[in-house]
């Protein structure tokens, strides 16, 4: 693995709800190397989005708060950093692309204005220079006739173009880390393919690290170098993308892989993980996956299971990892 540019260690995030303070992210650790793409995978409610927002210190406070842990960018601690310092990093060193391009772009300002704004904030350059840069990045994301598109409002763009404009905005200051939170989920498959291709080629050109948050294992297989799987606010497994798909070590990962309806396989009964994920205010004791795990034993319900390091830079949160042989993707 390349030298880590982003390191998250033992991150805890809590939200104040009707059930009191609820920990939605608990002891999450991972790192992203320079130029690497890490996929953060999980179902809705697994805490993956909260984790990615925490890196930018953008979770809403209140009701949220980072209750512990450390997030380091290029060695600098972000947790507890002053707001002005964080603002210097956001959008410049670490940039972000969100899921819904319709709502994540401001409907009241033009695309050009929204790109220029970030350039001027971090480069302190003139209006004209910012406009030139905006045209440059729009060209990068293959928006035809970018100069005339500067004056367009988000609602005048198609979904795919909006997401590309959002990527252009994120890349405007050459970030070292790009956090992409389900950037293709709201798009049609053919447009998703375009955006994935675009992200891949941009990364090859500029070498930024990508933290790619998604629930879609197909997208992970397509784009990511390494994967961290989250379940119920915790990371249950990290591995390189090939290892993870070929020989998953955690029963939840196995369940997810088996559950993917795969092209070229028909008529077989679909594998489904029984039950539903727990609510964050009623986490099961012991392994949080044990109520749904086909391999669970009494011991799994008793004490907390630590994330254990395995050979080949893998980590798994399962006490039966040595005994179990799990099935990977076909």
């Amino acid at each position: 693995m390349a030298a880590p540019i982003l390191e998250v260690e033992d991150l805890g995030v809590e939200f104040l709800t009707d059930h009191g303070w609820v920990r939605v992210v608990d002891g999450v650790s991972f790192s992203v190397g320079e130029g690497e793409t890490l996929g953060l995978v999980g179902e809705s409610g697994s805490g993956k989005t909260v984790t990615s927002l925490s890196v930018m210190q953008l979770i809403p406070v209140p009701p949220g708060r980072i209750s512990g842990g450390s997030i380091r960018f290029a060695g600098r601690e972000l947790v507890g950093m002053s707001e002005p310092q964080l603002e210097d990093i956001r959008g410049d060193d670490i940039a972000m692309v969100f899921q819904e391009s319709m709502t994540s772009l401001n409907p009241a300002f033009t695309i050009g204005e929204q790109i220029c704004e970030v350039v001027r904030r971090h480069r302190g350059c003139s209006r004209r220079e910012a406009r030139d840069r905006a045209v440059e990045v729009l060209e990068l994301v293959q928006i035809p006739d970018p100069r005339s598109r500067l004056g367009a409002f988000p609602h005048e763009f198609s979904g795919g173009m909006r997401q590309r404009a959002a990527i252009a905005m994120a890349l405007a200051c050459d970030p070292k880390v790009l956090i992409a939170d389900e950037p293709t989920t709201a798009l049609d498959v053919t447009v998703q393919a375009q955006v994935l291709d675009l992200l891949r080629s941009l990364q090859q050109r500029f070498g930024m690290a990508i933290l790619f948050v998604t629930h879609n294992l197909g997208v992970v297989a397509d784009l990511c170098d390494r994967v961290a799987v989250m379940y119920a606010g915790r990371i249950v497994e990290t591995a390189t993308v090939f290892d993870l798909f070929e020989s998953p070590q955690h029963p939840y990962t196995e369940g997810l892989l088996q559950a993917m309806p795969q092209l070229g396989e028909r008529g077989k009964r679909l594998a489904a993980i029984p039950g539903t994920p727990p609510m964050p205010w009623q986490m099961p004791t012991g392994c949080r996956f044990h109520p749904r795990c086909p391999y669970a034993e009494t011991a799994c319900t008793e004490q907390d299971i630590p994330l254990r390091a395995l050979a080949g830079d893998r980590h798994v949160r399962c006490r039966r990892v040595e005994e179990l042989t799990l099935e990977g993707a076909q």
Binding site: D188, T190, H215, G218, D222, F245, L256, P261, Q262
Partner: protein, 334 residues
């Protein structure tokens, strides 16, 4: 072949978007000359991206939106123009499950009333009799009697979709229209519902019109597949044939665009990345609607919509690549 349960011919649905004083009214042809059949007990999947008109197709079949042209026959009866009481009377044969499990259940009703409503409004069962049937229905979809007096907000997305299915099968329909019924769910829950649908089909012999954008799911559940693009069916045929030998360039691109959850396969396969977006249904391109993004576009594609040509292995595709005459003419022209 047995008589089809559902027979749709040249169906069109046009929405009129009212303009302002100085803005003209615009016409959106959401569905444009669509024909298909569903045999009893068969599953037809309609796949397509946003703007393909697949949901409107489902609603038109359900007679929830008015078709502007064409005909719909259910079980031999023409239901295209039914209204009021006669339409109500065919409802038991034809039921629907909607995409959003959150907005499809009335928040002010308890589950017993939600699931029992079809029984009540068709005078099938009342009182204790109705409750007994509701209980049986809930058990059939994997829920219990203790759920009867609860409100929809107390259920997860997957459970709500089970409730919606229980309501839809209460009248023992012959055809169930499923409009993106599993799209809003997480994979693990999605598979539970798909398996439930599979079980119900075996037990009750219901035919499904399965609307989806997820090709993986479609391949699992469908007997036949219809691929839609901008309000038209561009290709149709048995599932095996469509997935193994797609005939239409759009089907091919669509299949190619779905990332396979296996990095070795996904990274080594040839992919077709289509340029641009789906054009707006308000201003569809002339000729073949796909010609603006098609890698094989010919001159003839830009002017005249190709007719459906039968394909080896079953089904048909509407593409000049499979129409020998047109291909030659097109080549010559270009």
């Amino acid at each position: 072949m047995t008589a089809p349960l559902l027979s749709v011919r040249d169906l069109a649905v046009t929405f009129h978007l009212r303009g302002g004083l100085l803005r003209p009214t615009r016409h959106l042809k959401a569905v444009n000359g669509v024909s298909f059949d569903i045999a009893p007990g068969e599953t037809l999947a309609v796949v397509g991206e946003s703007g393909s008109g697949k949901s409107t197709m489902a609603r038109a079949v359900m007679r929830l939106v008015e078709p502007s042209a064409g005909s719909i026959h259910l079980d031999g009866d023409d239901i295209t123009a039914l209204r009021g009481e006669p339409l109500r009377r065919i409802r038991p044969k034809l039921q629907m499950v909607f995409q959003d499990p959150y907005s499809s259940l009335d928040p002010s009703m308890i589950i017993a009333d939600v699931v029992g409503e079809p029984l009540t409004v068709h005078g099938v069962a009342t009182g204790a009799d109705r409750d007994e049937r509701v209980q049986a229905l809930l058990e059939q979809v994997g829920l219990g009697r203790y759920h009867m007096n609860r409100y929809p907000y107390e259920f997860s997305g997957g459970q709500r979709q089970r409730i919606a299915i229980a309501r839809a099968i209460a009248l023992q329909p012959k055809l169930l229209v499923l409009d993106e019924a599993v799209s809003a769910l997480d994979v693990s829950t999605q598979n539970q519902i798909l398996n439930l649908l599979e079980d119900l089909r075996r037990e009750l012999g219901i035919a499904y019109l399965f609307i989806s954008h997820d090709l993986g799911v479609v391949e699992h559940i469908a007997d036949r597949v219809a691929v839609t693009y901008l309000g038209r069916i561009v290709e149709e045929g048995p599932t095996e044939r469509i997935f193994a030998k797609p005939a239409h360039p759009y089907t091919e691109a669509l299949l190619s665009a779905v990332p396979i959850p296996n990095p070795r396969i996904q990274r080594s396969r040839q992919r077709i990345v289509l340029p641009g977006d789906v054009p707006s249904p308000l201003a569809p391109p002339p000729g073949c609607p796909f010609h603006t993004r098609c890698p094989h576009v010919m001159d003839v594609c830009k002017t005249v919509m190709p007719a459906h040509t039968p394909m080896a292995g079953g089904g048909s595709a509407a593409c000049y690549l499979h129409d020998p005459q047109a291909t030659e003419g097109g080549r010559r022209a270009s």
